[in-house]
Symmetry: C2
Subunit: 136 residues, 2 copies
């Protein structure tokens, strides 16, 4: 279960890129995420993406989804009305060090979403169970 | 996108409880997670769970899954050979403060898995976009 979890909040995402509707299209976001996982050398086991409706008829809704990986998961949620998205990439190192794959996946998604500001944290998860204190 | 993300690594999970095979049954884990989300007042939009095979014929494999919520997501991965699991509960506060719902969901899952030790971190995600620095 040891592995890298990248937790990022993306602000001021670009809406004038070729894929500027990534924030409002579950189909495009699903395609991007699945392709980016595979390009990074990670194994997609399944996924679920959902398209929200807009707050009114003039607004497009956000999207939300997760990809279940053999190496753990990717989760992404968008808020088009604020040009924001949250991104989680967690990969465990069960059979190999997947940290570089996590970083590659993260960078691909950041490049696609084009944020103007990012709040990101990297957490190294998991200890050797023998190093944890077992409560009676 | 503001909201609470509970990140927990669970060690020494109990295998002698009534649901001691939660670590090795995707079906049971899926049922637990979906029910716990709904009991906590969260809205399940979809999910995907996967059953791993064991390393050899004498071992049961772990399970992994995510639940896509209207409020964000739940992700869980198990390592039965180490009696461990990782757990992520992230709920945003788009229309209401869902922190207590996140805590209730987290507690239900911890109670079901019965860990002897927990490494947990609570991250408050999201800022007002106006408070972030937009890079030109």
């Amino acid at each position: 279960m040891k592995g890298l979890h990248i937790i990022a909040d993306l602000y001021h995402c670009s809406r004038d890129k070729a894929d500027g509707d990534l924030l409002t299209s579950a189909a495009k976001l699903r395609s991007l995420c699945a392709g980016a996982c595979e390009a990074a050398g990670l194994t997609v086991l399944g996924e679920h993406f959902y398209q929200f409706g807009g707050a009114d008829a003039t607004l497009k809704g956000g999207t939300t989804g997760t990809v279940v990986l053999a190496e753990s998961h990717l989760a992404i949620h968008t808020w088009p009305e604020r040009d924001c998205a949250t991104l989680d990439v967690y990969v465990c190192n069960y059979t190999a060090d997947n940290s570089q794959r996590a970083e590659a996946l993260y960078q691909t998604l950041v490049d696609a979403l084009g944020p103007g500001a990012i709040q990101v944290e990297r957490i190294w998860r998991g200890k050797d169970p023998a190093m944890t204190k077992k409560v009676a």
